[in-house]
């Protein structure tokens, strides 16, 4: 089950794995890889843009796209044929630059109680940790685990930090943290073991809004350092 050694982890053409009677997984390549992930999201967007009769939902992840379908409305062979034909048409869209969503973050202090630990662990000054963390945008490989939770790629290896030995029983919504090679934001209050380095004043997820999310998988996120005063100002504009 190990991938053959090739220059790119991308498959020549998508492969299908069946998930029972009403879903099929479309696989684009091996491992966690941005070129594979871009293919997944390009197809997800194409299918949302021009709905195919019989396809009920599409759910993208790192290297796979789940297609939930009604086999009584579209036979599986017909569905797979449509996907392969659409794939052949897509090509150029995959290269379109992703949308970048800015997320203001107030680093350190009460919002980032573990910033000092991450700095000490990496041998950097806290200001350097903030600079490195907020320098480059992070691709959103997938959204899942909890509503609006982003699986982000691209954390600088210098900032990789182990999780807390004992998770906190409550982490406030908006907290920005690091766990091993991952960085991310808690969209809602929850227990959690990530090292917290800051907090965003934005509501990442508001189920009562007609558009409850600020981003989607396939976008990228950039963290923008923000002062406590700006944090308070933005926070006061958000719904409680």
């Amino acid at each position: 089950m190990t991938a053959p050694m090739t220059a790119t982890p991308l498959y020549d053409r998508p492969r299908f794995r069946h998930c029972g009677d009403c879903a099929v997984l479309v696989e684009y390549g091996e491992g966690i890889d941005l070129s594979v992930n871009r293919k997944v999201h390009a197809m997800a967007r194409a299918l949302r843009g021009q709905p195919v009769v019989g396809i009920q939902t599409v759910v993208p992840a790192y290297r796979t796209l789940a297609i939930v379908y009604d086999p009584l409305a579209i036979p599986l062979k017909g569905l797979e044929g449509r996907i392969l034909a659409l794939e052949a048409e897509l090509g150029a869209d995959v290269l379109a630059p992703p949308r970048t969503v800015d997320i203001p973050v107030c680093y350190g202090g009460a919002f980032g109680p573990d910033l000092e630990f991450v700095a000490a662990h990496s041998g950097l000054a806290p200001e350097e940790v903030i600079h490195i963390h907020s320098r480059d945008p992070y691709p959103i490989y997938a959204v899942g685990f909890a509503p609006g939770f982003c699986y982000l790629g691209g954390l600088d290896p210098r900032l990789h930090t182990p999780r807390l030995p004992t998770p906190r029983t409550r982490v406030a919504a908006g907290s920005v943290g690091i766990a091993e090679a991952q960085t991310g934001v808690y969209p809602a209050d929850s227990p959690g073991g990530w090292r917290l380095i800051g907090r965003t004043p934005l509501n990442l997820f508001n189920p009562l809004k007609s558009d409850p999310f600020l981003y989607q998988a396939g976008d990228q996120i950039r963290f923008v350092p923000t002062s406590p005063a700006d944090y308070d100002r933005i926070r006061s504009l958000e719904d409680p």
Binding site: M1, T2, R17, H18, C19, G20, D21, C22, A23, L25, G31, I32, A44, Q56, T57, V58, V59, P60, A61, Y62, R63, T64, L65, A66, V68, P71, L72, L76, A142, V143, G144, F145, A146, P147, G148, F149, Y151, A188, P207, L208, P212, F213, Q216, A217
Partner: protein
């Protein structure tokens, strides 16, 4: 909207559910919804509700409710010791209730989850296209939580039924269930374990809830070269995932993405049997081809349509 029930005793886990929240899975929002889609559908049909109306789903023990206005109700799913003012009443039948009546669903003696529909539907604000309670996200249904004593539930507008409706037969869930399943998506990880999986009986453990059903039985070993986990990928209801301990878990509708390999997927027409299984029950899996699964779905859909027709006559 009219006040219809005051909750006197909620039961261990009673939530407002409908067909589920399907449109935001790509954003990490799971479907939730009634786990026994068949019982939910029939309950709504018995009181002439639209198919997307919200109902109450109870677990093992149903709620005790004071009725606050005239209404038609129907209880389906698990067979419970249903009483109206201490008189036994049948399930799978529309009942007329009125102010001051005490409706007690009682304990399930066949199955696990009962569904209570009321004409007009349980009225809670739809959130992201559904009234289903998502307990993990603390939204949907009644304030995103299970019912509590003292809660007042409202119903939507509805005319009372001109004629009583009744389903002349209903499922007996039993304590051994056979679930038809299609191997995959990662059946190649478990080539030699597939035989065990489709032969051995498994027992439902106490860790069985709306997230999933953890089973106990012969260990399902991965092929030596198969990785211990996979790159996280989307999950559908009915996936049977196998974590490192080799004990299978049937996943339901409260998760969108996961990183364990799946040996097989239970077919849609058999998912209601999982919803009605209790800790201690026996589960057997029967292998079906994808073609057979699609045939079974066609028959199941035709059967549901016949029930709809029968109940609207």
């Amino acid at each position: 909207m009219t006040d219809v029930f005051r909750v006197l005793a909620p039961g261990p886990l009673t939530t407002v559910q409908d067909r589920g929240r399907v449109a935001f899975q790509h954003m990490g929002v799971p479907i939730s919804g009634g786990l026994d889609a068949f019982a939910l559908r029939v309950a709504n049909r018995l009181v002439a509700n639209a198919a997307d109306a919200a109902v109450l789903e109870s677990t093992l023990v149903g709620p005790r409710l004071e009725v606050l206005c005239p209404a038609d109700i129907a209880v389906t799913g698990a067979a419970t010791a249903l009483t109206l003012n201490d008189r036994p009443e049948p399930g799978w039948t529309a009942l007329r209730v009125g102010p001051g009546d005490i409706l007690d669903l009682g304990a399930a003696d066949n199955g696990c989850r009962a569904y209570l529909a009321v004409g007009g539907g349980i009225a809670v604000p739809p959130i992201m296209g559904s009234r289903a309670t998502y307990l993990g996200g603390r939204f949907g249904g009644l304030e995103g939580r299970a019912l509590q004593a003292g809660d007042i539930l409202k119903r939507g507008p509805a005319d009372l039924l001109a004629r009583p409706r009744h389903l002349p037969w209903f499922p007996l869930y039993g304590t051994t269930i056979i679930l038809r399943a299609v191997p995959g998506p990662q059946d190649d990880f478990f080539r030699s374990a597939l035989k065990v999986f489709f032969q051995a009986p498994y027992t439902v453990t106490a860790q069985a809830n709306r997230m999933g059903y953890r089973l106990e039985g012969p260990v399902l070993s991965r092929e030596p070269q198969a990785p211990a986990s996979i790159v996280s990928e989307p999950i559908v209801a009915g996936h049977v995932q196998v974590p490192a301990d080799g004990q299978p878990i049937i996943l339901l509708t409260e998760q969108t993405i996961g990183g364990y390999a799946k040996i097989a997927t239970v077919i849609t027409p058999d998912l209601f049997k999982v919803a009605q299984a209790k800790p201690g029950d026996t589960v057997r899996f029967a292998s079906v081809t994808l073609e057979a699964a699609h045939g079974a779905l066609g028959e199941w859909t035709a059967y549901l349509d016949r029930i709809d027709e029968l109940l609207s006559a």
